[in-house]
Symmetry: C2
Subunit: 440 residues, 2 copies
């Protein structure tokens, strides 16, 4: 490696935001699928078509608490002329041995219990006297309190058609049906279905493990005492939270001092638990830009995918960026600039889509919309750079918060949107329609 300072060759090559993003998305591949317990798979993408092994419901069953009877025995029943039937016992949900319902008989049946042999229909308990002989009731007495409730006689006050209040076997899904397609994101209702068809585990792309590391000798951990020239480390906290928000399992590494050997060994150490590494700081043109220094050693021309490229982007904030892969598994690494706003905006634009690509999601980007710029004076933006200003969005209007400075963390904390000013625009008048990234 040459130790000469980089020289200006007319104009530095500037990457556009889209070129950098395209390069990241073309490089990062979805993680290999693994079999996970259902609840561990929440939020993950299914990679198999799941087929129904057994019909739902698996058997004809009652949708009501009531009496399983024969249709003919309750035909013409009314409050004036009830049908009187002999109660032969209970059919509870989960009961394996079913009694037989013969002519003139009824079995007390509970919601979800199998329709017993001989029975053709179910009359709800509210259509009966509940075996008490004192007119219509609104429910049954608890079995535990009244063990004789399953004996004696019941009066039925209304007729029922065949298979009334009966859920037919397979009426939800049939064995052999496709329950869920590969590519489905597993939320609570999908987990409900998988459990209902008996799946304890499922094959999905796991959540990516993202290691977040900030760099800078000036960084002190929050809660510590600031010395002269020092500031608190905020990037490692913000980006760990943002990685979790994007769907990752995130590991925060404390800030690493500006020493290439230490940084290099910390990164190598952490590789074992990383599907993606994110660093902040040390990527610009200074003499202590240690991420650039440490990772520029990594590339081996004979070993594809083991080098980090440092670039200048036509973007504000976030001009200096590094991207590539590192280590034996070619773990992708994004080296973000160190200013808090720069690193957060870079995360939203580049790291979040990378995380969601690792997850196998189709929808990797934040939603965007257009909004009317509401502000007292025109926004200015440097020529040739795509600018991302912080703003608050509501009801089709967006208002800038704070200025363009990449150190303005307080304004960032009060924003919920990024206002996009294109490369060829240097001034945006109030009232203009602008593109907005919704930070959610």
């Amino acid at each position: 490696m040459s130790s000469a300072a980089p020289r200006t060759t007319g104009q530095d090559q500037l990457w556009s935001v889209d070129e950098h993003l395209d390069d990241i998305l073309a490089t990062v591949r979805p993680l290999e699928p693994i079999e996970l317990q259902l609840l561990d798979a929440q939020g993950c993408v299914l990679v198999e078509d799941v087929t129904v092994p057994v019909s739902l419901p698996p058997f004809d069953n009652s949708s009501m608490d009531g009496y399983a009877v024969r249709v003919a025995d309750v035909a013409g029943a009314s409050e004036e002329f009830p049908a009187a039937l002999e109660v032969v016992g209970d059919v509870a949900a989960g009961q394996a041995d079913l009694l037989h319902v013969g002519p003139g008989q009824a079995a007390r049946i509970m919601t979800g219990a199998p329709l017993p042999p001989g029975a053709e229909t179910v009359v709800p308990v509210e259509w009966t006297d509940g075996g008490l002989g004192e007119g219509p009731v609104t429910g049954m007495r608890a079995r535990a309190l009244s063990p004789d409730g399953a004996e004696g006689h019941v009066q039925v006050y209304r007729p029922a058609e065949a298979r009334a209040h009966v859920r037919a076997k397979g009426s939800d899904v049939r064995a052999g049906d496709r329950a869920l397609e590969a590519g489905t994101v597993l939320g609570p209702p999908q987990i409900a279905l998988l459990a209902a068809i008996g799946r304890a585990t499922v094959r999905v792309r796991p959540r990516p493990r993202v290691v977040v590391m900030s760099t800078g000798s000036e960084l002190v951990q929050p809660g510590g005492e600031l010395g002269s020239g020092q500031i608190y480390d905020s990037n490692s906290f913000a980006l760990t939270a943002a990685a979790i928000d994007a769907g990752a399992i995130a590991y925060r590494v404390g800030a690493v001092a500006d020493d290439a050997v230490t940084l290099r060994s910390t990164i190598e150490d952490q590789l074992v638990r990383a599907d993606l590494m994110v660093t902040t700081g040390g990527v610009s043109v200074g003499a202590y830009d240690v991420v650039k220094e440490a990772l520029s050693y990594v590339g081996d021309e004979d070993e594809p995918g083991s080098g980090i490229e440092f670039r200048k982007l036509a973007m504000q904030p976030g001009k200096p960026q590094g991207f590539g892969s590192i280590g034996p598994d070619h773990t992708p690494l994004l080296a973000l600039p160190g200013n808090p706003v720069s690193s957060y905006v870079s995360f939203e634009l580049f790291v979040r889509p990378a995380i969601r690509t690792l997850m196998g999601l189709d929808d990797v980007h934040r939603p965007t919309t257009t909004a009317t710029l509401t502000t007292g004076k025109a926004l200015t933006s440097p020529k040739g750079r795509r600018q991302f200003l912080r703003g608050t969005y509501a009801d089709g209007a967006v208002t800038p918060v704070g200025g363009a400075g990449s150190h303005l963390v307080a304004a960032l904390a009060h924003a919920d949107a990024l206002i996009v000013v294109p490369e060829d625009v240097e001034s945006v008048e109030p009232g203009t329609e602008v593109e907005v990234v919704l930070l959610g």
Copy 2:
């Protein structure tokens, strides 16, 4: 307790959906705040106004990699007639001992490093020869590779105004400013700000611990073998996932058999880790409705807040519901019906708002919108009941998925919205505008 079967008194009292919800929201109180580590507080609601203890930035610092100089020394500088200055050393970020920049001198300065005494402005390295004497450069050589870079002379090709590329102390936030207000939900940018002002911990309402328990002797855990009359437990999985989705820490208890003593002791066991308990099944009018049976013993008239009330709601699905509180801490408990769709819809309507109320969030409900009903034939709905049908929503239109049956889990898994049919509507024609709850 009377063991008489409940009798019909003309008409059962029906609670409306809104009455039941109002009762829940009037009873459930936000959890007591606790001090949490920043990253543990993600997604939580701040309960204190946070004041800035030290200005950000804490000192004037450079926004560029370049040279700290005096204004007069670079006045009139150009590529043709550069200003030649003596380089007196480096000022790196985090450096405590600062050199003094005198007339005719320059200090190499890094982004974020304090402006050294004597210096009045910063010229970016790209406006200089980087000390090489060979025209403009694009960056500095790494200090580690070229330790003599901080010595010798530098040529500066452009003038700089006073305090150019200098971020003033306090230009982000000033000591004594309010950083964040009580009530703020802590996302990544808010965590960034808290870390930046040195807060390691913060006072928030914690995530509620929600214990989810399904009941039913017919339930088999997914992965097991179904016997006669048995089905798989899906509710405990679905609602645990839904509780996590709502922001809770959720504990899934395996399905409990229909035995009041066992259920009662399981609930008492679990109370120690519950801020909210959710059960499914056993709340209707059958003889084996064990939740109702077990929890009806709980209430002590002299002990407020320790009883569960079982109700019928003017709602489909989800008519039978229980709500109240239990145990020495009056832990709120929602007893949902056992049909998978009933329990899921009940969760969305009642448990999710309860969880979000415990978190102290203002916004406890799912978003709703109106949509055009897209379907081949009219929807029918029982009179006097608010019906929640499953549907898919896109671009202002909603299409029903599956039927009204509360056992249709497969359809639920393909829905992303609930179609609301009001109590007084019995039929909805295609093309009608309907209210929709977005589950997304």
